[in-house]
C-alpha cells in the first residue's frame, strides 16, 4: 500500500473543498492534498451552467463553470496536488485516510488535519415511497442536469417535475430551452422549496404550471413512464384522492431535497446534528474530533455557493493552523440554541475567546415562511443582535452576526438563543 503524508487533506473538490485547499495553502500549510472521486475538479459546479453564482464574493453574476474555474485556476497556480478518480473509503480519528484509485490502488494518507468537503446528494424516489411500477424515465433533477449539460442526452420530451427545489426549477427551464415540454412542477408544501427568483425566471418566464399543495400519488407505465397521477394534499400533507388527475408524460424528475453526504463522517464518529444532517461544528469549522474540519453542503445544505466557499475558507485556514501549531483554544464553549421559528443554526457552538478577533457570522434557516420579522440573538434577557427582515422563507438562509463588542459579556454565558419573531 502506497503511503503519503500531508499537512492538510481535503476530501472533495467542489467549491468548499477547493476554497479550503487554497486557504490552507495560503495560511502556510506546505502539503495540501485534494482527494476527488470524479475525473475532474469542481464537484457539482461544472454541470450548473446557469448564472447566479458569485454575487457576494466576486460581485459578478457567474455561471457555475466560470465560478469554479477561478478556484481551479488558483489551485493550479499554487501547485496544489490533486488526486482524481480517488475515492476515500475511511478516515480515522487520528487523521489517517484510506482511499482507492485505479492508478495507485489502495492508498494511506497521514494528514496533519482533515477537511471534510463531500457535499450533498439528492433525495431519491425510494426516500419518498411513491407507489407505482418501475418504468424507465424517473430520475433526480441533478442527474437530469448531468445528462443534459455534461453528457448531452435529453431525458425525455414531456416532463413532470416533483418538488420545487432550485435544481428542479432550473432544470424545468433547461428542458424547455432544449425543446422539451414541462407539463407541471408539483410541490407538496404551500410554498416553493427554492428561491423565489428561480420561480420567476425559470417557471413564470416560460409559463410552466406550478401546483402547490399537490403531490404525485402514482407513477404510470411499464417499460417507460406514460404519466403520473397528482392530487391536492390536506393540511397533514395527505393526498385528497378525489382531487386526483392524470398528467401524461414520459419523464418524472425529482427535486425533493438534498442530503449532506456523511457516511465517512459518521463512520469516523464525529458528533452529528440530527436537523442539518451534518457534523456539529464550531466557529473554526472544526468537528467534535480535534483536527477534523468540515465545510459546505456536508455541514448543512446551503442555498448559495458563496456560503459554501466562505465556510471552506474558514475550514482551510483553521486546518492549516491545526496542522502547523496544534489545537486552538476553544474553551469556554457557548452553545447556540435555535429558538422561535429557527430550524437550525450553523455553527452550533462558538468560543467567546475568538469573538474578540472578528464578528462571527451565523447561518440560520427558518422553519416556516413569515413576514416582518425580527431576527435576534439573546443571552438570558440581554439581546446582543437585532435585525429586521421583510420576509423569510425556509429556502433562504439568513445571516446574523455576533458583534465583537459582545465578547466580554459572552465570556459569562454558556448558551445563546436565536429567534425569528414577527414584529407586532
Amino acid at each position: 500500500m502506497i503511503e503519503h503524508r500531508c499537512d492538510v487533506a481535503v476530501v472533495g473538490s467542489g467549491a468548499g473543498g477547493l476554497a479550503a485547499a487554497v486557504a490552507a495553502r495560503e495560511a502556510g500549510a506546505r502539503e495540501v492534498l485534494v482527494l476527488e472521486r470524479d475525473n475532474i475538479l469542481g464537484g457539482i459546479l461544472p454541470q450548473c451552467i446557469h448564472t447566479g453564482f458569485g454575487l457576494e464574493i466576486f460581485s459578478e453574476d457567474l455561471t457555475g463553470p466560470e465560478y469554479i474555474h477561478r478556484f481551479v485556476a488558483r489551485a493550479l497556480e499554487l501547485q496544489l496536488p490533486t488526486a482524481l478518480n480517488t475515492m476515500v473509503l475511511e478516515i480515522t480519528s487520528n487523521r489517517e485516510l484510506y482511499a482507492a484509485s485505479p492508478e495507485e490502488g489502495l492508498l494511506k494518507i497521514k494528514a496533519g488535519a482533515v477537511v471534510l468537503a463531500m457535499g450533498c446528494r439528492e433525495r431519491t424516489r425510494g426516500a419518498l415511497a411513491i407507489p407505482g411500477t418501475r418504468p424507465a424515465g424517473i430520475m433526480t433533477a441533478g442527474l437530469a442536469q448531468r445528462f443534459v449539460n455534461i453528457e448531452g442526452y435529453m431525458p425525455g420530451e414531456r416532463i413532470v417535475v416533483l418538488g420545487s427545489g432550485d435544481v428542479g426549477m432550473i432544470m424545468a427551464r433547461r428542458f424547455t430551452f432544449e425543446g422539451a415540454h414541462v407539463e407541471a412542477v408539483v410541490e407538496i408544501l404551500p410554498y416553493i422549496g427554492g428561491l423565489i427568483r428561480n420561480k420567476v425566471q425559470c417557471l413564470d418566464d416560460y409559463g410552466i404550471p406550478l401546483f402547490l399543495e399537490h403531490t404525485v400519488t402514482e407513477i404510470l407505465g411499464n417499460m417507460r413512464v406514460t404519466g403520473v397521477k397528482i392530487a391536492k394534499v390536506n393540511e397533514d400533507l395527505e393526498p385528497i384522492l378525489e382531487t386526483g388527475r392524470e398528467i401524461a408524460c414520459d419523464t418524472l424528475v425529482l427535486s425533493v431535497g438534498l442530503i449532506p453526504e456523511n457516511e465517512l463522517s459518521e463512520k469516523l464518529g464525529v458528533e452529528m446534528d440530527s436537523v442539518t444532517g451534518g457534523p456539529l461544528v464550531n466557529e473554526l469549522m472544526e468537528t467534535s474530533i480535534p483536527g477534523i474540519f468540515a465545510c459546505g453542503n456536508v455541514v448543512h445544505v446551503c442555498d448559495i455557493v458563496d456560503n459554501v466557499t466562505q465556510m471552506g475558507l474558514v475550514a482551510g485556514k483553521s486546518a492549516a493552523r491545526f496542522a502547523l501549531e496544534g489545537p486552538a483554544e476553544t474553551e469556554p464553549r457557548i452553545r447556540l440554541r435555535p429558538g422561535e421559528n429557527v430550524r437550525y443554526v450553523v455553527p452550533q457552538t462558538i468560543s467567546a475567546a475568538r469573538l474578540a478577533e472578528a464578528p462571527l457570522p451565523l447561518h440560520l434557516r427558518v422553519a416556516r415562511p413569515d413576514e416582518n420579522v425580527r431576527v435576534s440573538i439573546v443571552a438570558g434577557r440581554r439581546c446582543i443582535f437585532d435585525s429586521r427582515e421583510k420576509a423569510v422563507a425556509p429556502g433562504e438562509a439568513l445571516i446574523a452576526s455576533i458583534p465583537t463588542s459582545a465578547a466580554e459579556f459572552l465570556a459569562q454565558v454558556d448558551e445563546l438563543q436565536i429567534d425569528v419573531q414577527q414584529v407586532k
Binding site: T63, E178, D205
Partner: protein, 134 residues
Amino acid sequence: MTQRQEEMLGSFKKKDVICILCPKGCPLTVAGQDKKGNPKITGAECKEGKEYALQEITDPRRVITTSIVVTGGRLPLASVRTSVAIPKDTVLPCLEEIRKVTLGAPIHIGDIIVPDVLGTGANIIATRDVAATQ
C-alpha cells in the same frame, strides 16, 4: 429615462415585479411617476433593484445559458452564455440559433462562439474549457 420608458410608465397604474438580481428576491412595485417625472419604485433594497424594476417593466431582458456540441473534445458539450442580457422575446430564437452551432475542440473559457447573436448586441461566449482529445 428614454421616451419609450416614459410612454410605458404612463400606460399602467401600478405593476409588481419580483427582483431576480440576487437570492433575496425583493418584491418591487412601480407606480407611475413622481412630480419630477422619475418613476416611483418601492420595495427595492438597493440601487440595482430599482434599475431592474424599471428595466423589467419597460424592456425585460435575460442572460441565457445553454450548451453547444463539441467535436474532438474530451467532453461532448461546452457550456455557453450570452455576454449580456438579451430582450426576453429573443430568448427562444437565440437558443435556436445557438443549437445550429458545432465547434471543434479545444475551446477556452471566454471564447466568442457566436458574435452579436441575432443582432442583440450580445456575444455567445464559452463558460468552460474543453480540451481536445490527443
